[in-house]
């Protein structure tokens, strides 16, 4: 849904039009839910934050000024709400051993990449994504799920573009090494004789 359509719906929402709200909700709910779930890793909490985020739109529809894609703006609201959930959690609860993965010398030869690409599975990626820090996980999600540009990711993460590049670089290294280790344990890692 483009910003023109979104603006028309928001104008109707400002007049308390519930049908317009429902249309907007259905158009963006999956995106917001996917983002929040990636951050909080709890479906019930993710749904709660989604509802909260959309309710914010209902209450303040004129706040969106069309300076970014609506989904980017919406994810910015959801991010603030998700951060409140993070504050109630132990800082390194989920990614206690991921830094170890970054120290492993990656097999970055063409064959290594190709075989890793062939063998990596959804479960493996999910597991390794879950081991990343929140910032790295968020960065990968915004780039590869939301398809956001460098500038958009920087705006969402409220950091310079160079920081996004660095985060992306480290996230790539860590997830690749994590996947390689996972495959090694299964006895089929690239470069490992099975």
């Amino acid at each position: 849904m483009d910003n023109d359509r979104v603006s028309k719906l928001l104008e109707r929402i400002a007049k308390q039009d519930q049908a317009a709200f429902q249309e907007l909700y259905k158009a963006f709910s999956r995106k917001v839910f996917a983002y929040v779930l990636n951050q909080v890793k709890d479906q019930a909490k993710a749904e709660e934050i989604l509802v909260d985020t959309m309710y914010e739109v209902w209450r303040n529809p004129t706040r969106f000024r069309g300076e970014s894609a609506f989904s980017t703006w919406l994810i910015g609201i959801a991010r603030n709400k998700a951060l409140l959930v993070f504050r109630g959690r132990r800082p390194d609860e989920d990614h206690d051993d991921i830094d170890d993965y970054a120290e492993i010398t990656p097999d970055e030869g063409p064959d290594g990449y190709a075989r890793l690409a062939e063998q990596q599975r959804r479960e493996g990626v999910q597991h390794c994504m879950g081991k990343l820090t929140e910032e790295h996980r968020e960065c990968l999600h915004l780039v590869f799920y939301e398809g956001m540009s460098l500038a958009e990711v920087a705006a969402i993460q409220r950091c310079p573009e160079n920081t996004v590049k660095t985060r992306l670089f480290h996230a790539r290294q860590k997830i690749k090494n994590c996947l390689r280790l996972l495959l090694e344990r299964e006895g089929s890692a690239p470069g490992v004789e099975s």
Binding site: M54, Y113, A117, F144, L150
Partner: protein, 206 residues
């Protein structure tokens, strides 16, 4: 250097957010370096897997809860007020009308205040009644004596407060004739009473 640039641009090439010039640069790099295609394949695979990790949920997820919130939603008082006055900034004629209403209401209120002037008498202290018959007893109460205890005590001696308190805290109580000594003795016994004596009459006001 070109390898670094390739590594930097590749994620954005894969997610489709790269501008045309950078996209063309990556395309030419890939044509010149076929071995780099494996890294492209890895990113593409990662992107596919990340999409797969997100559970398929209906677009209406949480919608019923959101609608419940909305239907129960009522603007706060401050929102109502700011919304109300916000309109006047756009419509001067309405603001002028509102000013007129305020002035009119003010005039009505002032007029009503004038009408209730006589009721002020209700706020005045009641004038003490003179009790014509009976002897007087002058009583001094303790500073911490409670008004309710004083009243009870006066009832117990059939006394009526006739004057006081004076500057020295003297109260004049008229008691039934022939019972003044008995009343004085009873009053003396009470801890809230500091002094009691028979009085010839109420002293004139200063």
């Amino acid at each position: 250097m070109s390898n670094e640039r390739f590594a930097e641009l590749l994620p954005w090439y894969v997610n489709g957010s790269l501008d045309a010039a950078d996209r063309a640069w990556v395309d030419s790099y890939l044509a010149e370096h076929p071995e780099a295609r494996s890294e492209l394949a890895w990113y593409e695979s990662l992107q596919t897997r990340i999409h797969e990790t997100v559970p398929a949920v209906p677009a209406s997820i949480g919608l019923a809860r959101a609608m419940n919130l909305i239907r129960g939603d009522r603007p706060t008082l401050s929102e109502v007020i700011s919304g109300f006055f916000g309109r006047f900034t756009m419509r001067p004629a309405m603001a002028l009308g509102l000013l007129g209403v305020i002035v009119l209401q003010g005039a009505v209120i002032v007029n009503m205040m004038g009408q209730v002037k006589d009721d002020e008498t209700e706020m005045r202290a009641l004038r003490a009644k003179d009790v014509a018959e009976g002897p007087l007893v002058k009583v001094n109460f303790a500073p911490d004596a409670r008004e309710s205890d004083i009243r009870l005590l006066l009832v117990s001696v059939q006394g009526t407060l006739t004057g006081g308190p004076g500057q020295l805290g003297d109260y004049y109580v008229r008691v039934p004739a022939g019972k003044e000594a008995q009343a004085a003795a009873k009053l003396k016994d009470k801890t809230i009473v500091q002094a009691v004596e028979l009085a010839a009459g109420i002293p004139p006001r200063d």
